[in-house]
């Protein structure tokens, strides 16, 4: 038995951590958050060269052929750096969807371009992952797909979209398709706008090879990646809080020597510790323990959503008023954690699903 990362996985972690430390500064994040496009093309380019969009794509299509655990490792590093790049939708959920449900033609059409970083796919399956809100609905006829699909992840700069109808059927549509209009809505996380699709008889490719359970696997993968991002973001907020508390002086003492402050940091550290194991295990289960995959994912994301919120709030408080300002940029992590919580089901929804899964309803 070995519970932890392999040497190769630690290398992947190190290489992404190093690259993100160099490439993502507060200025980078701020530029995306205040920019028009919601994207940083050079950062995307750099991370594509490092293999970020290719992680889950098989070698046959130019990918790295890795598994969910590696994707979770990368997601955690992206969260740690509040990296303003598309990942959960395009690199995790869309690639996995093509792997699981795509025809050979669909795979060879999309996956090589995605692996090279030349194509991004936005994902709009919130209607089946977290529930349809405010009249979100699509209808299918022989002319195509019509309706409204709000809250599309990684919609900024997407070349195509993966969407679902209420029955959970999955479709790919080209962003330039006739009858499709796309708008971006700003979110609390300025680096993560959500797309809104309005469809009027848009011709689509149905992903025909979906089998029972594939939609669950796709949603699970997205949830694991979100939980891993929140974990990385939470760890970074704790690190910053501790560093600040060791520097800032009041009453002739660094504030980190006061128990009131120390205990806030200890509480964050304590709650975060088991979260690492929850995330790794959910990813591992996704890869090799299919019977445990859904439950361990639900437990991991619901817990990370709650611990993430506590850490985001507490780390901000340790910074005092500085934490509340824009100057330190701590709020970018706070907002990423808030964004992740609401994506693909918040904790109450996930716990409800976990109860259903175990027959507790």
């Amino acid at each position: 038995m070995y519970f932890g990362l392999s040497e190769e996985q630690v290398m992947i972690q190190d290489s992404f951590r190093g690259a993100l430390e160099r490439a993502v500064t507060l200025d980078t994040i701020r530029a995306v958050a205040t920019g028009e496009t919601g994207l940083d093309d050079s950062l995307w380019e750099e991370l594509s060269q490092l293999g970020m969009p290719a992680l889950l794509i098989s070698e046959e299509f130019g990918g790295a052929g890795l598994s969910m655990l590696e994707a979770a490792v990368v997601a955690q590093e992206l969260g740690r750096h509040a990296a303003p790049v598309p990942f959960v939708g395009t690199a995790v959920m869309a690639t996995l969807t093509l792997n699981l449900c795509g025809s050979e033609a669909q795979k060879s059409n999309w996956l090589p371009k995605m692996a090279a970083g030349n194509c991004k796919i936005g994902v709009g399956i919130g209607n089946v992952a977290s529930g349809a809100r405010r009249g979100a609905a699509v209808s299918v006829s022989e002319k195509g797909l019509s309706g409204e699909i709000p809250f599309v992840i990684d919609a900024a700069g997407a070349n195509a979209f993966l969407v679902s109808d209420q029955a959970g059927n999955l479709y790919l549509l080209n962003s330039a398709a006739a009858g499709l209009s796309v708008s971006l809505s700003p979110t609390i996380d300025g680096t993560n706008p959500l797309g809104h699709l309005t469809l009027n008889n848009v011709s689509v490719n149905r992903l025909e090879n979906a089998s029972a359970g594939s939609l669950d696997r796709i949603i699970n993968a997205g949830r694991i990646a979100l939980a891993a991002q929140t974990l990385g973001a939470g760890e970074e907020m704790l690190r910053r809080a501790v560093a600040y508390a060791k520097e800032r002086k009041q009453f002739d003492r660094v504030i980190g020597s006061f128990q009131a402050v120390k205990h806030m940091c200890a509480e964050m550290a304590a709650q975060l510790q088991p979260c690492q194991s929850l995330v790794w295990y959910a990813a591992y289960a996704h890869d090799v323990l299919p019977e445990e995959a859904s439950l361990s994912t639900l437990l991991a994301k619901s817990r990370l959503d709650d611990v993430g919120r506590m850490v985001a709030r507490t780390a901000t408080e340790v910074h005092g008023s500085m934490g509340y300002t824009d100057l330190m940029g701590l709020h970018f992590w706070f907002k990423r954690i808030g964004f992740n919580r609401a994506q693909l089901g918040g904790p109450e929804k996930l716990r409800q699903e976990a109860a259903e899964l175990q027959g507790l309803v």
């Binding site: 980190g256 088991p274 295990y281 109860a355």
Partner: protein
């Protein structure tokens, strides 16, 4: 990540399973936990079971053969397999308690050959119970300020002072105790760790009634208690260091995710089987939400322990991950007790001696006892100091007394 057993561990797991099947009839009803809740001498059946487990290497398996143990090479995964298989089979595991879990590792690390020969074997077999004389009325979280003192008198020490919160002192024949022997040395350098008999003249034990209604700890008074100088473990004035290694073992003992999992399973049964207005309790969405929330925390601790196991197996020094276990484990258990009590409504407030209440778990007693554990063995607040200062490298609280 690879959570499968190696061939050797798979074989070992099968051996444990076979043992549990073959010896099911000999297992006692009572477990180490029930003895901890209300301390009393071990029954013969419990001692026989313990002796069998020690012989087979399913308890104290790493204690060397020359001291009565099984002498297995350290293999933390085998210890985990034993714990998990006993848990899965719902069979009582080896005893734990102050003697086995705290004194024995301390003697192995710091004891003289004579001390090891004398005390380890009867302790691991459950024949000798120990109590721990650490806290004093004025020395709780600030343990090193303790004032119970010993002065040299010929070949002996004469001990005067008092201890408090001494679990099992009313039944234990032996005590390990912290005593100030070097009054001129600094706070931390003046303490010695001693072991001696509770039958020594001059010792008075007064049981302290606790909020659970079950006496589990005591006040102990020492008046000119004569103890040979050979009672010191680890050298005069070295007691603080020795005690810290003991406390480390205590903190490990106070968290155990399998025990939390067992309570969670009990609560799941309650939610399925108990009804209100003819509907099962789990139809209540709020109880269900609290249950799943705690399930995620228990799962987190179970997996966290596995991660720590791998760390330990790789020879990495304990770190932040180990320091959080007592704080988190005790808190989760207390929340589990609270959920069970809330789910049971009026049934949940019935107390001692009602058979139907005992079957579902003695939740009110646990609820209070676990609050005791949040406070004891280093309060939650002391744990947070340790996490912050040692785990996060934050500055220490300025010390009132130089040490």
């Amino acid at each position: 990540m690879d959570l499968r057993d190696s061939a050797e561990h798979q074989k070992f797991r099968e051996e444990v399973r076979k043992f549990l099947k073959d010896f099911k009839d000999q297992a006692p009803e009572e477990t180490a936990h029930t003895f901890r809740l209300s301390p009393r001498p071990y029954t013969q059946q419990v001692k026989d079971w313990q002796k069998l487990l020690v012989e087979r290497g399913y308890a104290c398996r790493n204690v060397p053969k020359e001291y009565g143990g099984f002498g297995a090479a350290p293999d933390i995964l085998k210890n985990k397999i034993i714990a998990d298989e006993f848990f899965a089979a719902d069979m009582p595991q080896g005893l734990y308690g102050q003697g086995i879990s705290m004194l024995v590792p301390t003697l192995l690390e710091h004891g003289t050959e004579e001390q090891k020969q004398a005390w380890i074997e009867p302790t691991i077999n459950g024949e000798i119970m120990w109590c721990q004389g650490y806290s004093e009325p004025n020395s709780g979280s600030d343990l090193a300020s303790l004032q119970t003192n010993a002065i040299v008198d010929g070949d002996d020490f004469l001990i005067n002072g008092s201890k408090i919160w001494t679990s099992s002192a009313h039944i234990a024949p032996m005590i390990f105790c912290l005593v100030r022997t070097e009054p001129d040395a600094s706070k931390y350098q003046g303490i010695s760790y001693m072991i001696f008999s509770m039958d020594t003249p001059g010792i008075e034990v007064r049981p302290l009634q606790t909020m659970t209604g079950h006496p589990s700890f005591n006040e102990v008074f020492f008046t000119d208690v004569r103890v040979p100088q050979t009672a010191v473990v680890g050298g005069r004035g070295k007691g603080w260091k020795v005690a810290n290694s003991t406390l480390k073992h205590e903190r490990g003992m106070l968290s155990n995710a399998n025990a939390s999992q067992e309570r969670l399973n009990k609560i799941a049964r309650i939610l399925k089987e108990e009804t209100v207005d003819g509907r099962p309790l789990f139809k209540n969405r709020i109880l269900r939400d609290r249950f799943i929330d705690l399930q995620s925390q228990v799962q987190g601790m179970r997996l966290h322990e596995m991660r720590l196991l791998t760390n330990a197996e790789r020879g990495n020094a304990p770190g932040l991950g180990d320091m959080v276990c007592k704080l988190l484990g005790c808190e989760i258990n207390h929340q589990l007790d609270a959920l069970a009590i809330d789910a049971l409504g009026e049934i949940g407030i019935l107390y001692d001696g009602i058979p139907s209440v005992q079957e579902d778990g003695i939740w009110q007693q646990w609820f209070m006892y676990d609050l005791g554990l949040i406070i004891g063995g280093g309060t939650a607040q002391i744990q947070k100091n340790i996490i912050a200062e040692r785990g996060l490298d934050m500055p220490r609280e300025p010390r009132a007394v130089a040490g």
